[in-house]
């Protein structure tokens, strides 16, 4: 058998799966978003009508879409820096020559990453229970009034952000740790001889040397955080007062609760466009930073 045919034979199963169950649906989503595919079309395809950009137009006039986008952006804007800061901080602690029992600590800090979101969200919902939760009990010890963490529209999203940071920081920590270990030790040696303080070493050696890692981790984390769904689904069901409805939550409700599949596809596409734009912007900004 000639090598070309072997190659295609080896590729066929994976390419068929990706083509039929990913690329084809992505293209179909674009087409779907231009129709009014709903419960009636689901029952009988002849009820399907082409509405061009109607779904998009309607979405842009819906307060709930803007609210969902606002919540998602809030989650990303606060969650990503906190999450990356925690990751970098933990990685630097683990990388310190003074740290002991490194394998134990590395495993302990990574443990939340491999756990199931739903299960840990259930745990957090209990820890942040207004009446019996550990969080309010501890606050009570220092005479702070109980906070209705998941029942107060102002606190629900910050609580979800705290949960997400706890759940995810270990992942980027490992990547940062590898990045830190790749920095040549003699750079720090030279800086110490020149009398540079730890803070200056961090600013002028660690941060610049980590920049490529930082950019990659940043892009991955941002796109991951834009896909917020399971946390509000389990912890708050989008409430209170829809304060934790994210864009994907809206897509899920629109599509699989109300069966407006056309309009839900438009939501999915808008999210994709936004994520893509943010990624491009991050790349552009980092390049500009290189030139100066």
């Amino acid at each position: 058998m000639n090598p070309q045919r072997t190659a295609w034979l080896f590729l066929a199963p994976a390419l068929v799966v990706l083509g039929v169950f990913f690329l084809l649906p992505v293209l179909a989503a674009l087409a779907l978003s231009l129709t009014d595919y709903d419960l009636y079309a689901l029952a009988n395809i002849h009820n399907l009508r082409f509405v061009a950009l109607g779904n998009y137009w309607e979405l842009l006039h819906r307060p709930l879409f803007w609210a969902a986008l606002g919540h998602t952006v809030y989650f990303v804007a606060l969650g990503v820096p906190l999450s990356m800061g925690a990751s970098l901080g933990a990685a630097m602690l683990l990388n310190s020559p003074l740290a002991t029992a490194k394998p134990f600590f590395r495993t302990a800090l990574f443990a939340p990453v491999v756990t199931t979101v739903v299960a840990t969200a259930v745990i957090w919902r209990y820890l942040f229970n207004t009446k019996y939760g550990m969080a309010n009990y501890l606050l009570g010890l220092v005479d702070i009034h109980p906070v209705d963490w998941l029942g107060d529209p102002h606190w629900a999203m910050p609580t979800i952000i705290a949960f997400a940071v706890w759940k995810n920081f270990g992942y980027n920590m490992i990547i940062f740790l590898a990045g830190l270990q790749a920095i040549p030790p003699d750079l720090y040696e030279a800086a110490r001889i020149d009398g540079a303080s730890p803070w200056r070493q961090f600013r002028h050696i660690t941060l610049p040397m980590l920049k490529p890692t930082m950019l990659m981790v940043g892009i991955l984390t941002v796109s991951g955080y834009f896909q917020l769904f399971a946390e509000p689904y389990v912890m708050t069901e989008g409430g209170p007062l829809q304060s934790t409805v994210s864009v994907l939550y809206l897509m899920y409700d629109e599509g699989f609760k109300w069966w407006n599949l056309g309009s839900a596809s438009a939501v999915a596409f808008l999210l994709f466009v936004i994520m893509f734009a943010v990624t491009v912007l991050m790349l552009k900004l980092s390049q500009r930073g290189d030139q100066t």
Binding site: F10, L32, L98, F104, F105
Partner: protein
């Protein structure tokens, strides 16, 4: 700062962070053994007064958790075995077999990584509905049978296999499938283990797609079962914690026993090349 103080500070901080990371998990375990209602008291009890397996019995006898556990094992197991095979074949082909348009096709696949999976979900649901696969194990398994990430990981690793080795086998008259099974596969063993762990963990923890495609309770995986249980029994903290233990423990144990492979794979996957 004196070195001894610095050492105490760093290790103290590490202990603090580790406590924050582990506390919710340890408490989940502890509360899961408490009697109904025991966890809803003040101050929150750290350890059960009378430890019992009652919550677990309740979960498996009345709440159908055994069924969900088997479903999760079936679905995640099938996804792992099949997708590892599919990704291995494709990743090896991209790394070592020559064919027209190879680089361009691979670049196109990598490009597809920017598209979030959720964009495909709505038409995918319709597609599976017309294929009669909604609310079936196959509906969960089939879309996960190949991943760009998996192909990428295998390709990265397989590029390290020397071409001379494969050429020598070809000159000796070995068929391509024989070369793959007898020469390539043993060399790829570490990445097979890594990929299998990654895939199993991801499949086990997946929530959104199974939630969409599994409409009947009899097919629920653990995360879906737990989420629906949490909506019905939101007040039974002890029962919920036991349910969380059942959902989390298998993946945590798998990770603990195989963490070397998992962490290596994480780094391999995060370095683009």
């Amino acid at each position: 700062m004196s070195p001894r103080l610095a050492k105490a500070l760093i290790n103290g901080l590490l202990i603090g962070v580790a406590a924050v990371a582990l506390f919710p998990l340890l408490w989940m375990l502890s509360v899961s053994f408490m009697a109904p209602g025991a966890a809803s008291t003040l101050p929150p009890p750290l350890l059960p007064r009378h430890a019992s397996w009652d919550n677990y019995r309740e979960l498996f006898v009345h709440a159908g958790m055994g069924r969900y556990l088997i479903n999760s094992l079936l679905v995640a197991g099938a996804i792992t075995v099949l997708s590892v095979v599919f990704n291995l074949l494709a990743g090896y082909a991209f790394a070592k077999l020559r064919f027209a348009g190879r680089e361009r096709l691979f670049q196109a696949l990598l490009g597809a990584l920017v598209i979030p999976a959720q964009v495909a979900m709505l038409p995918l649901f319709l597609l599976l509905k017309y294929m009669g696969l909604v609310n079936s194990y196959a509906g969960v398994v089939v879309p996960a049978l190949a991943t760009v990430f998996g192909i990428f990981l295998v390709r990265q690793y397989a590029r390290g296999i020397p071409d001379e080795l494969l050429e020598a086998a070809r000159i000796d008259g070995a068929s391509e499938s024989r070369i793959f099974v007898q020469i390539v596969l043993p060399l790829l063993k570490p990445i097979v283990v890594t990929l299998a762990i990654f895939t199993f963990l991801a499949a086990w923890n997946d929530f959104m797609w199974p939630l969409i495609v599994l409409t009947g309770q009899e097919h629920y995986t653990l995360p879906i079962g737990l989420a629906s249980l949490a909506r019905e029994h939101s007040q039974d903290s002890e029962l919920m914690m036991a349910g969380s233990v059942v959902t989390v423990l298998p993946v945590l144990l798998l990770f603990l026993s195989m963490q070397r492979y998992y962490l290596e794979g994480l780094l391999l996957g995060s370095v683009k090349g």
